[in-house]
């Protein structure tokens, strides 16, 4: 890690910039961890994330501009407290069974043998996040996920695609889920809606008579109705583990692969969309609009007191340039869309005041801490706190790579 070098200095030297992200999703099941001395975890359990996930394994320097953090895999942002009380005994308190549990997590970042980004742990909601979300929904739509259903990524540096180059962008399928708690709760077991969700994937371009254009593809985000149960406690990324009280969908018929080919904006489509342009293409951003209004209505019909989370916190993505100087995926495939499309996103995004550059082989150490014990003793006083049986959070470091040679 070294101080930032202004990449503008390199523009005239033929340097090529591509968005990049290093990310990890960690599923924490408290029962998997050994209890320490005294028969208790203490107030929090600190878990280091895989260092390899935050290692710059490419040949090119990677400049980190922002950090994004988000709960991953939860269908609800704020749970239906009454309807999910059954999970209290089986799988943890209902009020931590949604993406809002991010408020209970802390994290710490450091670079091995060098320095810490922060000297102390940082609360998930403790930094000043950027304004990144769409306007709130009106009262009549209370509980629905978002006004526009949108994620976007505006690039830090323009992406210049050569004449015959293209970008290949895939979205994963949604893992079908079933609320299984049933007994004791007010909501009976049911499958979450599995109808296809209309999704528009767009590249925004500069240039031309109209000062810009776009290449967009309207596809359907499909739900895998026969998913295999993901491995809990795994932090390899995807398929993401399911939150407490949920199991893989049962009785469904559609077996959709994680990388469904119909949810791909492939290189040939990219080229077809703009066959007349003579020179290179200046792409300055990408947007992903997912119309989940029907999904929201279906979930709220059961969890009447809940708030639905954007599905961008439950689906993976991968992108790469074809026919350019670098053909690496921009991030390890499977990164949650909310973590890497960080200009408009439901994730919490922090801008680094001064970017940091990871040279090839450099890595970051990242740890997450979650509330572990339901009570702990502080100065002779017993303090009680809510804790869940499991948590799932993702962290990403977003920026761009400077590619030469």
């Amino acid at each position: 890690m070294r101080p930032n070098v202004d990449p503008k200095d390199a523009t005239s030297a033929g340097v090529w910039f591509e968005p990049r992200s290093l990310w990890c999703v960690k599923n924490v099941i408290l029962d998997d961890y050994a209890i320490g001395e005294g028969g208790s975890f203490g107030p929090t359990l600190t878990i280091p994330l895989q260092r390899n996930a935050f290692r710059n394994g490419t040949r090119f320097p990677f400049q980190v501009q922002r950090i994004a953090i988000s709960a991953v895999g939860y269908p609800l942002a704020r749970p239906d407290v009454l309807g999910m009380q059954a999970a209290d005994n089986a799988a943890g308190p209902a009020n931590l069974n949604g993406t809002c549990a991010l408020a209970r997590v802390t994290f710490q970042v450091s670079s091995p043998f060098r320095q810490q980004w922060s000297r102390t742990v940082v609360s998930g909601n403790g930094l000043a996040p950027l304004p990144t979300y769409t306007p709130n929904v009106p009262a009549a739509d209370s509980g629905k996920s978002s006004l526009f259903g949108l994620n976007s990524l505006m690039f830090d540096r323009p992406l210049i695609i050569p004449r015959n180059g293209a970008v290949e962008w895939s979205m994963s399928s949604l893992q079908g889920m079933r609320w299984a708690a049933g007994a004791g709760g007010t909501v009976s077991a049911f499958n979450l809606p599995s109808t296809d969700l209309p999704m528009t994937m767009s590249y925004l371009e500069k240039g031309g008579l109209f000062c810009g254009s776009a290449r967009s593809s309207r596809v359907n985000l499909r739900t895998n109705q026969s998913p295999i149960a993901p491995v809990p406690g795994d932090d390899s990324g995807f398929p993401y583990a399911l939150p407490p009280g949920f199991v893989p969908m049962v009785g469904g018929s559609g077996n959709v692969p994680f990388w469904d080919p119909t949810s791909t904006f492939d290189a040939s489509s990219f080229r077809t969309k703009n066959a007349t342009k003579a020179g290179s293409t200046n792409i300055y951003g990408m947007t992903l609009a997912i119309d989940q209004t029907a999904f929201d209505t279906g979930v709220l019909a059961q969890f009447t007191d809940g708030v639905v989370a954007p599905v961008s916190q439950r689906i993976g993505t991968r992108v790469r340039v074809v026919g350019g100087p670098a053909t690496d995926y921009w991030w390890r495939p499977g990164a949650p869309a909310a973590l890497v499309f960080d200009t408009i996103t439901p994730a919490a995004v922090f801008q680094l005041d001064e970017p940091i550059t990871l040279e090839p082989g450099d890595s970051l150490d990242v740890s997450l801490a979650v509330p572990a014990a339901s009570s702990f003793v502080d100065g002779g006083v017993t303090v009680s706190q809510a804790t869940a049986a499991s948590y799932q959070f993702g962290v990403s470091f977003n920026g761009f790579a400077a590619i030469t040679g």
Binding site: P131, T132, Y133, T134, P135, N136, V137, P138, A139, A140, D141, K144, L147, F148, G149, L150, S152, M154, F155, D156, R157, P158, D196, P198, T200, S202, L204, E205, K206, G207, G208, L209, F210, C211, G212, S213, A214, R215, S216, S217, R218, V219, N220, T262, F265, S269, T272, K273, N274, Y284, G285, T287, L288, A289, D291, T293, T343, I344
Partner: protein
């Protein structure tokens, strides 16, 4: 980020310097709003804007910098429309046989039906203000204009529904700084509005009584709740028309240009939700680079498409606005 961010202090300082240099050079720059309210057709039908709406009808060049898109609150039968349904509306612009954002999306699932790029996919940046005011307020960050000493602004508003039992507070504020003193100015006026009649806020609220010109940088429009309601949440989409005209210097022409062929639309009053290019509830697309330059007579066509086969959008109306400024040299 690579595109211009109007909210940044650096950009604000830049446009202030430009405004001051313009004053020295004798160049008048004034905001312009070209808008149309288009009624959606049957599912997948492509509907044109009103003819000649998005066209520079003045003698000087216009630069378009932003496009905003939002659903009107009421459909053609005066029933409320869910604003989330904007996710099921497509938009396409056409300029000299070029399409923006593109002619059609790839669409492997809807058979032979061709779809425009859906409107939310046009948004690049967050525009949400605080939830407590988000539903009621639009902030228009426009090219700065000079409100000369003893000039005033004429500001007109109207609601989208005629119901004499309901009274709403509509407020308009203009922020700027003194050209000489650099002190901040805040010109603000409000009015009770009860129906669809065009009403004018008191020009005294928007008069520059000082001894120096004011460089006005942005304008805020808000619509409060019905004044006797226990729910204080307003709705900016209720203001179906807001218009501006400088009295004194400037071009002396209405900033707002709308369709003249539709009796239901006042051509000099734009929907307030369409002005929220800095914060508000519209989808905002900033054109890349310096935007689109219209010579006199130049213009574009807009097409919208209902992409909801369920029928929930039948008769709904979409507000499309192009925001920019005219440069009089």
């Amino acid at each position: 980020m690579t595109e211009i961010n109007e909210a940044s202090p650096e950009y604000q300082q830049y446009v202030l310097r430009v405004a001051e240099q313009n004053a020295v050079k004798g160049i008048i720059e004034e905001p312009r709003i070209y808008f149309d309210t288009i009624t959606l057709g049957d599912p997948y039908l492509e509907v044109n804007c009103h003819p000649g709406t998005f066209q520079n009808g003045e003698q000087f060049p216009v630069r378009i910098t932003h496009i905003t898109m939002a659903l009107a609150r009421l459909n053609d039968e005066d029933e409320e429309v869910d604003p989330l349904l904007l996710q099921k509306v497509g938009l396409r612009l056409k300029y000299h046989d070029q399409f923006y954002m593109n002619e059609y999306s790839d669409n492997p699932f809807a058979g032979s039906r061709k779809l425009f790029t859906t409107i939310p996919a046009w948004a690049q940046r967050p525009t949400a203000s605080a939830p407590s005011i988000s539903e009621a307020t639009s902030v228009f960050a426009h090219r700065p204009f000079i409100l000369s000493a003893r000039d005033a602004m004429r500001v007109d508003v109207r609601l989208d529904e005629a119901d004499s039992d309901d009274v709403f507070t509509v407020a308009v504020g203009m922020n700027g700084i003194g050209a000489l003193s650099r002190r901040p100015y805040f010109l603000h006026g409000s009015i009770y509005v009860a129906d669809t009649t065009k009403q004018t806020l008191s020009p005294a609220n928007f008069k520059n009584d000082g001894s120096e010109p004011i460089i006005v940088t942005n304008t805020t429009i808000s619509c409060g709740a019905e004044i006797s309601s226990a729910d204080p949440t307003g709705n900016i989409a209720r203001i179906t028309g807001v218009g501006f005209k400088q009295i004194g210097n400037g071009t002396g022409r209405s900033w707002v240009v709308g369709p003249t062929t539709d009796p239901l639309i006042m051509s000099d009053l734009a929907p307030a939700i369409s002005l929220g290019n800095l914060t508000g509830r519209a989808v905002v697309h900033r054109l890349p680079g310096d935007g689109l330059l219209w010579a006199p007579g130049d213009g574009i066509q807009a097409f919208v498409q209902n992409q909801d086969p369920s029928g929930d959008l039948d008769g709904a109306k979409v507000n499309i606005a192009l925001l920019g400024y005219i440069a009089v040299t």
